[in-house]
C-alpha cells in the first residue's frame, strides 16, 4: 500500500466518521412552538444558583474547618466541594450550550449571516469545549483551584441578561409578524416587516 493510497483511504475513512456523527440526531429536536419559552429560559437556569454555590465553594469555610475539624471530616468536605464544583461546571456547560443554541437558531432564522461571525463562533465553541474538558479533568483529579469557577459564572450571567433582552425583542417582532400575517392574509410578510 503506497502513500497516495493511505492518504485517500484515510480521507474517505474520515469522511465516513464525520457522516455518522452528522447523522446522529440533535440532542433535542427543535420544536417551533416551544422556541419562545425555550429562548426565555436559555442560559439562566443554573447561573441563578450562583450565590449558594459560591458560598459552598468559599475558602473561608475551608480554612475554618482545616483549623478546627478532624482531618477525616476535612477530607470529606473537600471531596464534597469538588463534587459540587464538578456538578456546577457541568451545569454551566448546559447554560453555555443553551445560549449557543439560541445563537444558532437566530442565525438559522436570519435572512443574512456573517461568515466571520459564524466561523468565529464555531472556533470559540471548539476552544470552550477543549478548555472545559481540561478543567473538568483537573478538577476531577484535584488539581484545579475551585473558587475560580466564579469568573465563568459571572460571564454567563452577563450574557444571559443581554440575551433575555434580545429574546424579548424577538418575541415582539414575532408577534408583529403574526399580526401582519393575519392582516395581510399571509402575503409578503417579510417585506412588510
Amino acid at each position: 500500500m503506497n502513500f497516495t493510497m493511505v492518504i485517500f483511504i484515510g480521507l474517505v475513512g474520515m469522511l465516513l466518521v464525520l457522516l455518522v456523527w452528522a447523522l446522529r440526531g440533535p440532542v433535542k429536536p427543535w420544536e417551533p412552538e416551544a422556541v419562545p419559552n425555550g429562548l426565555r429560559e436559555a442560559g439562566r437556569r443554573h447561573v441563578s444558583f450562583l450565590p449558594p454555590i459560591q458560598q459552598a465553594l468559599g475558602e473561608t469555610d475551608d480554612d475554618f474547618l482545616s483549623r478546627r475539624a478532624p482531618s477525616v471530616l476535612v477530607r470529606r468536605v473537600r471531596r464534597e466541594r469538588r463534587r459540587i464544583a464538578l456538578t456546577y461546571l457541568s451545569a454551566l456547560r448546559e447554560d453555555f450550550d443553551s445560549l449557543l443554541r439560541m445563537a444558532t437558531i437566530i442565525a438559522r432564522l436570519s435572512p443574512q449571516v456573517a461568515a466571520m461571525q459564524e466561523f468565529e463562533r464555531i472556533r470559540l465553541t471548539l476552544e470552550f469545549a477543549w478548555r472545559y474538558e481540561t478543567i473538568r479533568m483537573m478538577l476531577w483529579a484535584g488539581l484545579a483551584p475551585i473558587p475560580q469557577l466564579r469568573g465563568l459564572s459571572e460571564l454567563l450571567s452577563a450574557l444571559s441578561i443581554r440575551m433575555e433582552a434580545a429574546v424579548k425583542e424577538m418575541e415582539e417582532r414575532a408577534a408583529l409578524a403574526a399580526k401582519l400575517a393575519s392582516s395581510l392574509d399571509g402575503h409578503d410578510v417579510d417585506a412588510a416587516l
Binding site: F8, L11, V12, L15, A22, R108, L109, R131, G151
Partner: protein
C-alpha cells in the same frame, strides 16, 4: 473469469431494473418535480448502462475504444450526479436564506479545494488521468454531502427523511467510488474486472436505499419558516461572540493559573 463476466451481466440487468423502478417511483410520487436533477441523473445512468452494453458488443471488452467511451460517459454521469447533489443541498438548506448563502460558498470552496488537492496528489500517469479525475470528483461529492449534513446538524435544520436518505446514498457511493478508484490506480488491469463489479454493487446499494426512502409513506409537508428581521442577527451575533471570546479567555486564565493547592 467467465463466472465474473456472468455475474457482471446479471448485476448490470439488476441495476437497470432497479433504476427503472426508482424512476417510476419518482414519477408516481410526483417527486420528479421536486428533484429534477436527481431524475435526470437516474436517466443519464440508465442511458449510460444501455449504451455501454451496445458499445461493448461493438468494440469488444476490454479495448481502447471501450476505455475511452467508458470514461467519457462516466464524466457525463458524474457531472449529472454533481448537479443532483447541488439540487439536494439547495433542497435541504435554501429555506434558510442566511445559512444557505454561507453554506453554498463553503460547499463550493471545499469541493474546489478537494478536486485540486486530490488531482495533484493522485496524478501520476496520463493513462490514469480519468480515474484520478473521477476519484477527485467522487471525493469532493462525498465531502460536500458530509459538510452539508454538518451544516444541517449544527443549525438544527429539520431535514426531510427522503433528503437524508438521498444524501447518505450519494455519500456512500462516492466514498466507495473514491476507494475503488484508488485501488484501481495501484493495481490497474489486474483489478479492472473486480473494480467494475464492486462499482455496480455499490451503485445498486445506493439505488436500493433511494428506492426504500422514496417508497415509504410520505410524511407531512414541511412548513415554511418565517425569517427574522435582519437587524436582530447583526446586533446579537457580534455580542454573543464577544462574550464567548471573553469566556474562553477566562477559561484560559483558569487553565494557566491552575496549580496543585492541596
Amino acid at each position: 473469469m467467465q463466472g465474473m463476466a456472468q455475474f457482471e451481466q446479471i448485476l448490470w440487468a439488476v441495476n437497470v431494473a432497479v433504476g427503472i423502478v426508482l424512476l417510476a417511483l419518482l414519477i408516481a410520487r410526483e417527486k420528479c418535480r421536486a428533484f429534477p436533477a436527481f431524475t435526470g441523473y437516474l436517466l443519464v445512468n440508465l442511458v449510460q448502462a444501455v449504451s455501454f452494453y451496445f458499445a461493448s458488443r461493438r468494440w469488444g471488452y476490454p479495448s481502447r475504444n471501450m476505455w475511452l467511451f467508458g470514461w467519457s460517459s462516466q464524466a457525463v454521469v458524474t457531472f449529472a450526479r454533481a448537479l443532483a447533489v447541488a439540487e439536494l443541498c439547495r433542497h435541504m438548506l435554501a429555506r434558510y436564506q442566511g445559512v444557505w448563502a454561507l453554506a453554498w460558498r463553503v460547499l463550493c470552496g471545499s469541493a474546489m479545494l478537494i478536486i485540486l488537492y486530490s488531482g495533484f496528489a493522485g496524478w501520476r500517469r496520463w493513462e490514469l488521468a480519468f480515474p484520478a479525475l473521477d476519484r477527485s470528483l467522487e471525493l469532493s461529492i462525498a465531502a460536500v454531502i458530509v459538510i452539508l449534513l454538518l451544516f444541517v446538524r449544527y443549525y438544527e435544520v429539520v431535514a426531510d427523511p427522503v433528503d437524508r436518505s438521498l444524501a447518505v446514498g450519494f455519500c456512500l457511493y462516492s466514498c466507495f467510488g473514491a476507494v475503488n478508484n484508488t485501488i484501481l490506480d495501484r493495481y490497474l488491469y489486474s483489478y479492472q474486472e473486480l473494480w467494475i463489479v464492486l462499482g455496480m454493487l455499490s451503485f445498486l446499494a445506493s439505488l436500493l436505499l433511494w428506492t426504500w426512502a422514496l417508497g415509504k409513506p410520505q410524511t407531512v409537508p414541511r412548513r415554511e419558516e418565517t425569517l427574522l428581521a435582519p437587524g436582530i442577527y447583526e446586533s446579537l451575533a457580534p455580542q454573543i461572540n464577544l462574550r464567548l471570546r471573553t469566556l474562553n479567555e477566562r477559561l484560559s486564565q483558569f487553565w494557566n493559573s491552575a496549580a496543585p493547592r492541596r
